[in-house]
Amino acid sequence: MIEIDGLTKRYGDKTAVDGLSFVVEPGVVTGFLGPNGAGKSTTMRMIAGLDRPTSGTVRVNGKHYPGAAAPMAELGILLDARSVHPGLSARNNLLALGRTAGIGRRRVDEVIELAGLGEVAGTRAGGFSLGMGQRLGVAAALLGQPQTVVLDEPVNGLDPDGVRWIRLLLKSLADEGRTVFVSSHLMSEMAQTATQLVVLGRGKLISQSSVEDFTGHAGAGGVIVRTPEPARLGQVLAAPGVTVIEDGSDLLRVSGTTAEQIGTAAWRAHLPVYELTPAQASLEEAFMQVTRDSIEYHAGATR
Protein backbone atom coordinates (compact mmCIF):
# COMPACT_ATOMS: atom_id res chain seq x y z
CA MET A 1 0.00 0.00 0.00
CA ILE A 2 1.17 3.52 -0.75
CA GLU A 3 -0.29 6.36 1.31
CA ILE A 4 0.47 9.86 0.13
CA ASP A 5 -0.61 12.76 2.28
CA GLY A 6 -0.28 16.44 1.48
CA LEU A 7 2.78 15.77 -0.64
CA THR A 8 4.45 18.88 -2.04
CA LYS A 9 7.71 19.30 -3.91
CA ARG A 10 9.15 22.64 -4.96
CA TYR A 11 12.26 23.17 -7.02
CA GLY A 12 13.10 26.81 -6.46
CA ASP A 13 9.90 28.69 -7.21
CA LYS A 14 8.51 25.93 -9.41
CA THR A 15 6.03 23.63 -7.73
CA ALA A 16 6.29 20.16 -9.27
CA VAL A 17 3.88 18.43 -6.90
CA ASP A 18 1.29 20.40 -5.02
CA GLY A 19 -0.51 19.07 -1.95
CA LEU A 20 -1.06 15.59 -3.35
CA SER A 21 -3.04 13.07 -1.29
CA PHE A 22 -4.11 9.61 -2.39
CA VAL A 23 -3.89 5.95 -1.47
CA VAL A 24 -2.79 3.07 -3.70
CA GLU A 25 -4.35 -0.16 -2.53
CA PRO A 26 -2.78 -3.62 -2.74
CA GLY A 27 -4.27 -6.36 -4.91
CA VAL A 28 -5.12 -4.16 -7.89
CA VAL A 29 -3.20 -2.43 -10.63
CA THR A 30 -3.39 1.33 -10.18
CA GLY A 31 -2.56 3.51 -13.14
CA PHE A 32 -0.94 6.91 -12.76
CA LEU A 33 -1.92 9.26 -15.55
CA GLY A 34 -1.06 12.80 -16.31
CA PRO A 35 0.35 14.97 -19.08
CA ASN A 36 4.09 15.55 -19.36
CA GLY A 37 5.33 17.72 -16.53
CA ALA A 38 2.38 16.86 -14.31
CA GLY A 39 4.67 15.57 -11.57
CA LYS A 40 4.28 11.80 -11.98
CA SER A 41 7.99 10.99 -11.99
CA THR A 42 8.68 13.40 -9.15
CA THR A 43 5.96 11.71 -7.11
CA MET A 44 7.46 8.31 -7.84
CA ARG A 45 10.92 9.47 -6.86
CA MET A 46 9.51 10.75 -3.59
CA ILE A 47 7.83 7.38 -2.97
CA ALA A 48 11.27 5.75 -3.24
CA GLY A 49 12.84 8.39 -1.01
CA LEU A 50 15.07 9.65 -3.82
CA ASP A 51 13.65 13.16 -3.70
CA ARG A 52 12.86 14.70 -0.35
CA PRO A 53 9.35 16.16 -0.14
CA THR A 54 9.17 19.88 0.59
CA SER A 55 6.23 18.95 2.82
CA GLY A 56 3.83 16.09 3.30
CA THR A 57 4.45 12.41 3.85
CA VAL A 58 4.70 9.17 1.89
CA ARG A 59 4.19 5.81 3.53
CA VAL A 60 4.98 2.54 1.80
CA ASN A 61 3.23 -0.49 3.34
CA GLY A 62 2.48 1.68 6.36
CA LYS A 63 6.13 2.62 6.93
CA HIS A 64 8.44 5.52 6.27
CA TYR A 65 10.39 3.92 3.41
CA PRO A 66 13.88 5.34 4.07
CA GLY A 67 13.68 3.83 7.53
CA ALA A 68 12.62 0.37 6.36
CA ALA A 69 14.71 -2.52 7.69
CA ALA A 70 14.42 -4.52 4.48
CA PRO A 71 13.84 -1.94 1.73
CA MET A 72 13.92 -4.43 -1.15
CA ALA A 73 11.14 -6.45 0.47
CA GLU A 74 8.98 -3.33 0.69
CA LEU A 75 9.44 -1.53 -2.62
CA GLY A 76 10.73 -2.26 -6.10
CA ILE A 77 10.93 0.67 -8.47
CA LEU A 78 11.58 1.30 -12.14
CA LEU A 79 12.34 4.93 -12.85
CA ASP A 80 11.76 6.64 -16.16
CA ALA A 81 15.35 7.44 -16.95
CA ARG A 82 17.85 4.62 -17.12
CA SER A 83 19.25 3.65 -13.79
CA VAL A 84 21.71 0.91 -14.68
CA HIS A 85 25.49 1.05 -14.99
CA PRO A 86 26.46 0.62 -18.65
CA GLY A 87 29.86 -0.74 -17.67
CA LEU A 88 28.36 -3.65 -15.75
CA SER A 89 26.67 -6.69 -17.23
CA ALA A 90 22.96 -7.20 -16.67
CA ARG A 91 23.78 -9.89 -14.13
CA ASN A 92 26.24 -7.72 -12.20
CA ASN A 93 23.87 -4.77 -12.20
CA LEU A 94 21.23 -6.95 -10.56
CA LEU A 95 23.70 -8.68 -8.28
CA ALA A 96 25.03 -5.34 -7.02
CA LEU A 97 21.49 -4.33 -6.03
CA GLY A 98 20.52 -7.73 -4.67
CA ARG A 99 23.60 -8.09 -2.45
CA THR A 100 22.29 -5.25 -0.27
CA ALA A 101 19.42 -7.52 0.74
CA GLY A 102 21.33 -10.80 0.81
CA ILE A 103 20.03 -11.81 -2.61
CA GLY A 104 22.39 -14.09 -4.50
CA ARG A 105 22.95 -15.40 -7.99
CA ARG A 106 20.06 -17.84 -7.97
CA ARG A 107 17.37 -15.20 -7.57
CA VAL A 108 19.24 -12.90 -9.98
CA ASP A 109 19.24 -15.60 -12.65
CA GLU A 110 15.55 -16.19 -11.95
CA VAL A 111 14.56 -12.58 -12.72
CA ILE A 112 16.92 -12.52 -15.70
CA GLU A 113 14.96 -15.44 -17.15
CA LEU A 114 11.67 -13.84 -16.13
CA ALA A 115 12.63 -10.67 -17.98
CA GLY A 116 13.77 -12.60 -21.05
CA LEU A 117 17.36 -11.43 -20.72
CA GLY A 118 18.94 -14.89 -20.50
CA GLU A 119 20.99 -14.52 -23.66
CA VAL A 120 22.45 -11.13 -22.81
CA ALA A 121 22.90 -11.58 -19.04
CA GLY A 122 26.68 -11.49 -19.34
CA THR A 123 27.01 -8.55 -21.73
CA ARG A 124 27.55 -5.01 -20.64
CA ALA A 125 24.30 -3.12 -20.20
CA GLY A 126 25.70 -0.15 -22.12
CA GLY A 127 25.01 -1.93 -25.38
CA PHE A 128 21.39 -2.67 -24.59
CA SER A 129 18.55 -1.36 -26.72
CA LEU A 130 15.90 0.78 -25.05
CA GLY A 131 13.66 -2.26 -24.76
CA MET A 132 16.31 -4.46 -23.20
CA GLY A 133 17.29 -1.69 -20.81
CA GLN A 134 13.65 -1.44 -19.86
CA ARG A 135 13.45 -5.18 -19.23
CA LEU A 136 16.54 -4.95 -17.05
CA GLY A 137 14.95 -2.11 -15.09
CA VAL A 138 11.80 -4.15 -14.55
CA ALA A 139 13.93 -7.13 -13.48
CA ALA A 140 15.62 -4.88 -10.92
CA ALA A 141 12.25 -3.73 -9.59
CA LEU A 142 11.13 -7.35 -9.16
CA LEU A 143 14.40 -8.63 -7.73
CA GLY A 144 13.44 -8.52 -4.07
CA GLN A 145 9.87 -9.72 -4.66
CA PRO A 146 8.71 -6.47 -3.08
CA GLN A 147 5.30 -5.95 -1.54
CA THR A 148 4.89 -2.75 -3.52
CA VAL A 149 5.96 -2.31 -7.15
CA VAL A 150 6.24 1.14 -8.70
CA LEU A 151 6.94 1.36 -12.42
CA ASP A 152 7.39 4.59 -14.34
CA GLU A 153 6.41 4.09 -17.98
CA PRO A 154 7.27 0.38 -18.07
CA VAL A 155 6.15 -0.21 -21.67
CA ASN A 156 8.35 2.57 -23.01
CA GLY A 157 10.43 1.16 -25.83
CA LEU A 158 9.07 -2.36 -25.52
CA ASP A 159 8.01 -4.39 -28.54
CA PRO A 160 4.46 -5.82 -28.66
CA ASP A 161 5.75 -8.98 -27.04
CA GLY A 162 7.22 -6.97 -24.18
CA VAL A 163 4.06 -4.95 -23.79
CA ARG A 164 2.05 -8.13 -23.38
CA TRP A 165 4.63 -9.43 -20.92
CA ILE A 166 4.28 -6.29 -18.78
CA ARG A 167 0.50 -6.48 -18.93
CA LEU A 168 0.42 -10.08 -17.68
CA LEU A 169 3.14 -9.38 -15.15
CA LEU A 170 1.26 -6.48 -13.58
CA LYS A 171 -1.90 -8.53 -13.25
CA SER A 172 -0.12 -11.47 -11.68
CA LEU A 173 1.67 -9.20 -9.22
CA ALA A 174 -1.64 -7.68 -8.20
CA ASP A 175 -3.19 -11.14 -7.93
CA GLU A 176 -0.44 -12.11 -5.50
CA GLY A 177 -1.67 -9.30 -3.28
CA ARG A 178 1.06 -6.83 -4.09
CA THR A 179 0.54 -3.12 -4.59
CA VAL A 180 1.12 -2.18 -8.23
CA PHE A 181 1.45 1.47 -9.21
CA VAL A 182 2.20 2.16 -12.87
CA SER A 183 2.51 5.39 -14.76
CA SER A 184 1.93 5.61 -18.45
CA HIS A 185 1.03 8.16 -21.05
CA LEU A 186 -0.48 5.39 -23.17
CA MET A 187 -4.11 5.62 -22.21
CA SER A 188 -5.05 2.53 -24.17
CA GLU A 189 -2.45 0.55 -22.24
CA MET A 190 -3.85 1.76 -18.94
CA ALA A 191 -7.37 0.85 -20.02
CA GLN A 192 -6.23 -2.72 -20.50
CA THR A 193 -4.14 -3.17 -17.38
CA ALA A 194 -5.30 -0.84 -14.64
CA THR A 195 -8.47 -1.09 -12.62
CA GLN A 196 -7.84 2.01 -10.55
CA LEU A 197 -6.65 5.40 -11.74
CA VAL A 198 -4.90 8.34 -10.18
CA VAL A 199 -4.91 11.32 -12.52
CA LEU A 200 -2.50 14.19 -12.06
CA GLY A 201 -2.33 17.60 -13.68
CA ARG A 202 0.13 20.38 -12.85
CA GLY A 203 1.18 18.56 -9.73
CA LYS A 204 -2.35 18.38 -8.38
CA LEU A 205 -4.68 15.45 -8.01
CA ILE A 206 -7.39 15.69 -10.65
CA SER A 207 -9.17 12.47 -9.98
CA GLN A 208 -8.89 9.16 -8.21
CA SER A 209 -11.40 6.51 -9.17
CA SER A 210 -11.81 3.21 -10.91
CA VAL A 211 -11.18 3.17 -14.64
CA GLU A 212 -14.90 2.58 -15.23
CA ASP A 213 -15.97 5.51 -13.08
CA PHE A 214 -13.40 7.71 -14.73
CA THR A 215 -14.56 6.99 -18.26
CA GLY A 216 -18.20 7.01 -17.16
CA HIS A 217 -18.05 10.40 -15.44
CA ALA A 218 -16.26 12.20 -18.14
CA GLY A 219 -17.56 12.60 -21.65
CA ALA A 220 -21.05 12.06 -22.97
CA GLY A 221 -21.52 8.49 -21.86
CA GLY A 222 -25.09 7.23 -22.07
CA VAL A 223 -26.50 4.88 -24.65
CA ILE A 224 -27.07 5.59 -28.31
CA VAL A 225 -30.28 4.07 -29.66
CA ARG A 226 -31.26 3.94 -33.33
CA THR A 227 -34.94 3.37 -33.90
CA PRO A 228 -37.51 4.29 -36.53
CA GLU A 229 -39.80 5.47 -33.73
CA PRO A 230 -37.64 7.89 -31.72
CA ALA A 231 -40.50 9.96 -30.34
CA ARG A 232 -42.52 7.00 -29.08
CA LEU A 233 -39.48 5.24 -27.60
CA GLY A 234 -38.54 8.52 -25.90
CA GLN A 235 -41.93 8.57 -24.19
CA VAL A 236 -41.58 4.94 -23.13
CA LEU A 237 -38.17 5.59 -21.58
CA ALA A 238 -39.16 8.81 -19.84
CA ALA A 239 -38.60 8.38 -16.11
CA PRO A 240 -37.10 10.43 -13.28
CA GLY A 241 -33.34 10.58 -13.68
CA VAL A 242 -33.40 9.54 -17.29
CA THR A 243 -32.48 12.05 -19.96
CA VAL A 244 -33.42 11.45 -23.55
CA ILE A 245 -32.04 13.63 -26.28
CA GLU A 246 -33.27 13.27 -29.84
CA ASP A 247 -30.22 13.37 -32.02
CA GLY A 248 -31.06 13.39 -35.71
CA SER A 249 -33.96 11.67 -37.41
CA ASP A 250 -33.64 8.19 -35.91
CA LEU A 251 -31.15 8.52 -33.05
CA LEU A 252 -31.66 8.90 -29.33
CA ARG A 253 -28.97 9.59 -26.81
CA VAL A 254 -30.19 8.23 -23.49
CA SER A 255 -28.45 8.68 -20.19
CA GLY A 256 -29.44 7.59 -16.71
CA THR A 257 -30.29 4.04 -17.69
CA THR A 258 -28.61 1.02 -19.20
CA ALA A 259 -28.68 -0.58 -22.61
CA GLU A 260 -30.33 -3.66 -21.08
CA GLN A 261 -33.20 -1.63 -19.63
CA ILE A 262 -33.69 0.27 -22.88
CA GLY A 263 -33.74 -2.94 -24.91
CA THR A 264 -36.24 -4.58 -22.57
CA ALA A 265 -38.48 -1.50 -22.53
CA ALA A 266 -38.46 -1.29 -26.32
CA TRP A 267 -39.29 -4.98 -26.64
CA ARG A 268 -42.21 -4.63 -24.18
CA ALA A 269 -43.56 -1.64 -26.17
CA HIS A 270 -43.11 -3.53 -29.45
CA LEU A 271 -40.82 -0.82 -30.80
CA PRO A 272 -38.09 -1.87 -33.20
CA VAL A 273 -34.53 -1.06 -32.28
CA TYR A 274 -31.80 -1.25 -34.93
CA GLU A 275 -28.86 -0.29 -32.78
CA LEU A 276 -28.15 -0.09 -29.08
CA THR A 277 -24.66 1.15 -28.18
CA PRO A 278 -23.31 2.09 -24.78
CA ALA A 279 -21.44 5.25 -25.71
CA GLN A 280 -18.75 5.13 -23.14
CA ALA A 281 -16.10 7.74 -23.62
CA SER A 282 -12.74 6.12 -24.14
CA LEU A 283 -10.17 6.51 -21.42
CA GLU A 284 -8.28 8.72 -23.81
CA GLU A 285 -11.22 11.05 -24.36
CA ALA A 286 -11.97 11.14 -20.66
CA PHE A 287 -8.38 11.90 -19.91
CA MET A 288 -8.17 14.69 -22.46
CA GLN A 289 -11.36 16.20 -21.12
CA VAL A 290 -10.32 16.04 -17.50
CA THR A 291 -6.81 17.31 -17.98
CA ARG A 292 -7.48 19.90 -20.64
CA ASP A 293 -7.12 22.77 -18.22
CA SER A 294 -4.04 21.42 -16.60
CA ILE A 295 -1.89 20.55 -19.57
CA GLU A 296 1.29 22.37 -18.87
CA TYR A 297 2.80 22.37 -22.30
CA HIS A 298 0.21 22.79 -25.03
CA ALA A 299 1.31 21.35 -28.31
CA GLY A 300 2.22 24.08 -30.72
CA ALA A 301 2.17 26.76 -28.08
CA THR A 302 3.84 29.92 -29.29
CA ARG A 303 6.81 31.22 -27.41
Partner: protein, 279 residues
Protein backbone atom coordinates in the same frame (compact mmCIF):
# COMPACT_ATOMS: atom_id res chain seq x y z
CA UNK B 1 -12.20 8.59 -3.04
CA UNK B 2 -15.14 6.62 -1.79
CA UNK B 3 -15.21 4.59 -4.98
CA UNK B 4 -11.61 3.66 -4.47
CA UNK B 5 -12.07 2.64 -0.88
CA UNK B 6 -15.07 0.55 -1.84
CA UNK B 7 -13.41 -1.31 -4.66
CA UNK B 8 -10.15 -1.51 -2.76
CA UNK B 9 -11.86 -3.35 0.04
CA UNK B 10 -13.86 -5.47 -2.35
CA UNK B 11 -10.92 -6.49 -4.51
CA UNK B 12 -8.25 -6.87 -1.88
CA UNK B 13 -9.43 -8.89 1.06
CA UNK B 14 -6.90 -9.04 3.85
CA UNK B 15 -4.25 -11.31 2.40
CA UNK B 16 -1.07 -12.66 3.94
CA UNK B 17 2.00 -10.65 2.97
CA UNK B 18 3.26 -11.91 -0.39
CA UNK B 19 6.49 -13.89 -0.56
CA UNK B 20 9.71 -11.95 -0.65
CA UNK B 21 13.28 -12.77 -1.59
CA UNK B 22 14.82 -9.81 0.20
CA UNK B 23 16.32 -9.74 3.65
CA UNK B 24 17.18 -6.72 5.76
CA UNK B 25 19.87 -4.35 4.58
CA UNK B 26 23.08 -4.25 6.59
CA UNK B 27 26.40 -2.46 6.29
CA UNK B 28 28.15 -5.75 5.50
CA UNK B 29 25.70 -6.47 2.70
CA UNK B 30 26.11 -3.00 1.22
CA UNK B 31 29.89 -3.51 1.30
CA UNK B 32 29.44 -6.76 -0.64
CA UNK B 33 27.23 -4.93 -3.14
CA UNK B 34 29.80 -2.20 -3.66
CA UNK B 35 32.55 -4.80 -4.02
CA UNK B 36 30.48 -6.50 -6.73
CA UNK B 37 30.42 -3.25 -8.68
CA UNK B 38 34.03 -2.24 -8.15
CA UNK B 39 35.36 -5.68 -9.02
CA UNK B 40 33.36 -5.91 -12.24
CA UNK B 41 34.22 -2.48 -13.60
CA UNK B 42 36.92 -2.29 -16.24
CA UNK B 43 38.15 1.07 -14.98
CA UNK B 44 39.19 -0.55 -11.69
CA UNK B 45 41.32 -3.17 -13.39
CA UNK B 46 42.95 -0.74 -15.79
CA UNK B 47 43.70 1.80 -13.09
CA UNK B 48 45.11 -0.85 -10.76
CA UNK B 49 47.28 -2.33 -13.48
CA UNK B 50 48.47 1.10 -14.63
CA UNK B 51 49.36 2.08 -11.06
CA UNK B 52 51.48 -1.05 -10.74
CA UNK B 53 53.21 -0.40 -14.03
CA UNK B 54 53.84 3.26 -13.19
CA UNK B 55 55.17 2.76 -9.68
CA UNK B 56 57.28 -0.30 -10.37
CA UNK B 57 58.23 0.72 -13.89
CA UNK B 58 59.37 4.24 -13.02
CA UNK B 59 61.19 2.96 -9.95
CA UNK B 60 63.00 0.29 -11.91
CA UNK B 61 63.71 2.69 -14.75
CA UNK B 62 65.22 5.23 -12.44
CA UNK B 63 67.31 2.58 -10.71
CA UNK B 64 68.32 1.11 -14.05
CA UNK B 65 69.33 4.51 -15.43
CA UNK B 66 71.88 4.90 -12.71
CA UNK B 67 70.07 6.77 -9.96
CA UNK B 68 71.80 5.47 -6.86
CA UNK B 69 69.64 3.19 -4.82
CA UNK B 70 72.12 3.01 -1.99
CA UNK B 71 73.25 5.20 0.84
CA UNK B 72 75.87 7.71 -0.22
CA UNK B 73 77.24 10.86 1.37
CA UNK B 74 74.66 13.09 -0.28
CA UNK B 75 71.70 10.71 -0.31
CA UNK B 76 70.06 9.11 2.71
CA UNK B 77 68.36 5.75 2.42
CA UNK B 78 65.01 7.49 2.85
CA UNK B 79 65.67 9.96 0.04
CA UNK B 80 66.75 7.19 -2.29
CA UNK B 81 63.61 5.16 -1.59
CA UNK B 82 61.45 8.26 -2.05
CA UNK B 83 62.93 9.03 -5.43
CA UNK B 84 62.40 5.41 -6.39
CA UNK B 85 58.71 5.94 -5.65
CA UNK B 86 58.42 8.72 -8.22
CA UNK B 87 55.62 6.73 -9.88
CA UNK B 88 53.36 7.52 -6.90
CA UNK B 89 53.02 11.04 -8.26
CA UNK B 90 51.34 9.64 -11.35
CA UNK B 91 49.62 6.77 -9.64
CA UNK B 92 47.78 9.26 -7.42
CA UNK B 93 45.97 10.50 -10.50
CA UNK B 94 44.77 6.97 -11.29
CA UNK B 95 43.76 6.42 -7.70
CA UNK B 96 41.93 9.74 -7.77
CA UNK B 97 40.08 8.64 -10.92
CA UNK B 98 38.93 5.43 -9.25
CA UNK B 99 37.81 7.41 -6.19
CA UNK B 100 35.94 10.10 -8.12
CA UNK B 101 34.29 7.55 -10.42
CA UNK B 102 32.93 5.53 -7.51
CA UNK B 103 30.21 8.15 -7.12
CA UNK B 104 30.35 10.28 -10.27
CA UNK B 105 30.11 7.13 -12.40
CA UNK B 106 26.84 6.30 -10.71
CA UNK B 107 25.47 9.82 -10.96
CA UNK B 108 26.48 10.03 -14.60
CA UNK B 109 24.80 6.79 -15.59
CA UNK B 110 21.76 7.09 -13.34
CA UNK B 111 22.65 3.96 -11.40
CA UNK B 112 22.77 6.06 -8.25
CA UNK B 113 18.96 6.11 -8.24
CA UNK B 114 18.83 2.33 -8.23
CA UNK B 115 21.54 2.18 -5.59
CA UNK B 116 19.88 4.67 -3.26
CA UNK B 117 16.42 3.21 -3.86
CA UNK B 118 17.53 -0.12 -2.40
CA UNK B 119 19.53 1.54 0.38
CA UNK B 120 17.31 4.51 1.16
CA UNK B 121 19.23 5.25 4.36
CA UNK B 122 21.98 6.37 1.91
CA UNK B 123 24.90 6.69 4.33
CA UNK B 124 25.70 2.94 4.26
CA UNK B 125 26.45 3.39 0.54
CA UNK B 126 29.09 6.03 1.28
CA UNK B 127 30.71 3.95 4.03
CA UNK B 128 30.60 0.83 1.84
CA UNK B 129 32.32 2.60 -1.06
CA UNK B 130 34.90 3.95 1.34
CA UNK B 131 35.56 0.51 2.80
CA UNK B 132 35.92 -1.28 -0.55
CA UNK B 133 38.16 1.45 -1.98
CA UNK B 134 40.43 1.41 1.07
CA UNK B 135 40.34 -2.38 0.97
CA UNK B 136 41.46 -2.30 -2.64
CA UNK B 137 43.91 0.59 -2.73
CA UNK B 138 45.80 -0.12 0.50
CA UNK B 139 46.95 -3.66 -0.34
CA UNK B 140 47.48 -2.97 -4.05
CA UNK B 141 49.64 0.11 -3.46
CA UNK B 142 51.49 -1.63 -0.65
CA UNK B 143 52.26 -4.41 -3.07
CA UNK B 144 53.39 -1.85 -5.64
CA UNK B 145 55.72 -0.16 -3.14
CA UNK B 146 57.33 -3.45 -2.13
CA UNK B 147 57.70 -4.75 -5.68
CA UNK B 148 59.19 -1.38 -6.59
CA UNK B 149 61.63 -1.62 -3.68
CA UNK B 150 62.76 -5.15 -4.46
CA UNK B 151 63.06 -4.43 -8.18
CA UNK B 152 65.21 -1.37 -7.50
CA UNK B 153 67.41 -3.14 -4.96
CA UNK B 154 67.85 -6.07 -7.32
CA UNK B 155 68.99 -3.70 -10.06
CA UNK B 156 71.34 -1.95 -7.64
CA UNK B 157 72.81 -5.29 -6.50
CA UNK B 158 73.32 -6.43 -10.08
CA UNK B 159 75.46 -3.34 -10.53
CA UNK B 160 77.50 -4.55 -7.61
CA UNK B 161 76.42 -1.84 -5.16
CA UNK B 162 75.27 -2.53 -1.66
CA UNK B 163 71.62 -1.71 -1.85
CA UNK B 164 69.37 -0.16 0.73
CA UNK B 165 67.77 -2.58 3.14
CA UNK B 166 64.30 -2.46 4.65
CA UNK B 167 65.83 -1.84 8.06
CA UNK B 168 67.57 1.39 7.05
CA UNK B 169 66.08 4.38 8.86
CA UNK B 170 62.87 5.71 7.32
CA UNK B 171 62.65 3.10 4.56
CA UNK B 172 59.65 1.16 5.82
CA UNK B 173 57.89 4.35 6.88
CA UNK B 174 58.27 5.76 3.37
CA UNK B 175 57.06 2.62 1.63
CA UNK B 176 54.06 2.15 3.88
CA UNK B 177 53.60 5.91 3.85
CA UNK B 178 53.32 5.99 0.06
CA UNK B 179 50.58 3.38 0.29
CA UNK B 180 48.80 5.23 3.10
CA UNK B 181 49.07 8.45 1.11
CA UNK B 182 47.42 6.89 -1.94
CA UNK B 183 44.74 5.34 0.28
CA UNK B 184 43.78 8.73 1.71
CA UNK B 185 43.91 10.19 -1.80
CA UNK B 186 41.29 7.67 -2.96
CA UNK B 187 39.06 8.76 -0.06
CA UNK B 188 39.45 12.40 -1.11
CA UNK B 189 38.57 11.39 -4.68
CA UNK B 190 35.51 9.52 -3.44
CA UNK B 191 34.32 12.53 -1.45
CA UNK B 192 34.88 14.86 -4.42
CA UNK B 193 32.90 12.53 -6.66
CA UNK B 194 30.04 12.44 -4.16
CA UNK B 195 30.03 16.20 -3.73
CA UNK B 196 30.47 17.27 -7.35
CA UNK B 197 28.59 14.34 -8.95
CA UNK B 198 30.07 14.91 -12.41
CA UNK B 199 33.11 12.92 -13.49
CA UNK B 200 34.59 15.81 -15.48
CA UNK B 201 34.18 18.31 -12.65
CA UNK B 202 35.42 15.86 -10.05
CA UNK B 203 38.52 14.97 -12.03
CA UNK B 204 39.22 18.61 -12.86
CA UNK B 205 39.06 19.63 -9.21
CA UNK B 206 41.11 16.63 -8.16
CA UNK B 207 43.81 17.24 -10.77
CA UNK B 208 43.79 20.95 -9.97
CA UNK B 209 44.37 20.37 -6.27
CA UNK B 210 46.93 17.59 -6.64
CA UNK B 211 48.81 18.63 -9.78
CA UNK B 212 48.22 22.15 -10.97
CA UNK B 213 48.13 24.13 -7.73
CA UNK B 214 51.29 22.56 -6.21
CA UNK B 215 53.26 23.21 -9.40
CA UNK B 216 52.00 26.77 -9.79
CA UNK B 217 52.63 27.50 -6.13
CA UNK B 218 56.14 26.08 -6.32
CA UNK B 219 56.94 28.61 -9.05
CA UNK B 220 55.79 31.58 -6.99
CA UNK B 221 57.89 33.46 -4.40
CA UNK B 222 57.75 31.82 -1.01
CA UNK B 223 56.48 34.96 0.71
CA UNK B 224 52.98 34.50 -0.66
CA UNK B 225 53.00 30.71 -0.75
CA UNK B 226 53.54 29.87 2.89
CA UNK B 227 50.34 27.84 2.72
CA UNK B 228 51.91 25.50 0.18
CA UNK B 229 53.09 23.25 2.98
CA UNK B 230 49.49 22.56 3.83
CA UNK B 231 48.34 21.62 0.35
CA UNK B 232 47.13 18.01 0.44
CA UNK B 233 49.84 16.69 -1.87
CA UNK B 234 52.64 18.49 -0.01
CA UNK B 235 51.34 17.71 3.46
CA UNK B 236 50.80 14.07 2.61
CA UNK B 237 54.04 14.06 0.67
CA UNK B 238 55.90 14.61 3.91
CA UNK B 239 55.10 11.06 4.93
CA UNK B 240 56.60 9.38 1.88
CA UNK B 241 59.07 12.08 0.92
CA UNK B 242 57.45 13.40 -2.24
CA UNK B 243 60.55 14.32 -4.23
CA UNK B 244 58.79 17.34 -5.73
CA UNK B 245 58.04 18.97 -2.40
CA UNK B 246 60.28 21.98 -2.02
CA UNK B 247 61.11 24.15 0.92
CA UNK B 248 59.78 23.74 4.37
CA UNK B 249 58.01 20.42 4.96
CA UNK B 250 55.94 19.24 7.89
CA UNK B 251 57.14 16.30 9.93
CA UNK B 252 56.01 13.04 8.29
CA UNK B 253 53.12 12.20 10.58
CA UNK B 254 52.01 15.80 11.09
CA UNK B 255 51.82 16.10 7.31
CA UNK B 256 49.84 12.90 7.07
CA UNK B 257 47.49 14.15 9.78
CA UNK B 258 46.82 17.28 7.74
CA UNK B 259 46.06 15.12 4.68
CA UNK B 260 43.69 12.99 6.76
CA UNK B 261 42.07 16.19 7.98
CA UNK B 262 41.18 17.09 4.39
CA UNK B 263 39.77 13.60 3.85
CA UNK B 264 37.69 13.73 7.02
CA UNK B 265 36.26 17.17 6.26
CA UNK B 266 35.46 16.31 2.63
CA UNK B 267 33.92 12.96 3.59
CA UNK B 268 31.83 14.69 6.25
CA UNK B 269 30.59 17.19 3.68
CA UNK B 270 29.87 14.36 1.25
CA UNK B 271 27.88 12.48 3.89
CA UNK B 272 25.89 15.57 4.75
CA UNK B 273 25.15 16.36 1.10
CA UNK B 274 24.33 12.75 0.26
CA UNK B 275 21.63 12.74 2.95
CA UNK B 276 20.36 16.20 2.22
CA UNK B 277 20.22 16.47 -1.57
CA UNK B 278 17.83 14.79 -3.97
CA UNK B 279 19.37 11.85 -5.77
Amino acid sequence: MSAVMRSGVALAPVAPAPATAAGPVSQVRVVRAEWTKLRALRSTKWCGLSALVLIVGLGAASAGSGTPYHVSPGVSAAAAVSSGLLGVLFAQLLVGVVGVLAFSGEYGTGMIRATLAVVPARLPVLWAKLIVLVGLVLPVTLLCAFVDFFAATAIESSRGGSAISLTDPGVLRIMIGASLYLTVVVIIGLALGALLRRTATGLAVFAGVFFVVPIVVAALPHKITGFATYLPSNAGGALWGNPLTTGHALSPWAGFAVLCGYAVVLTGLAAWQLCRRDA
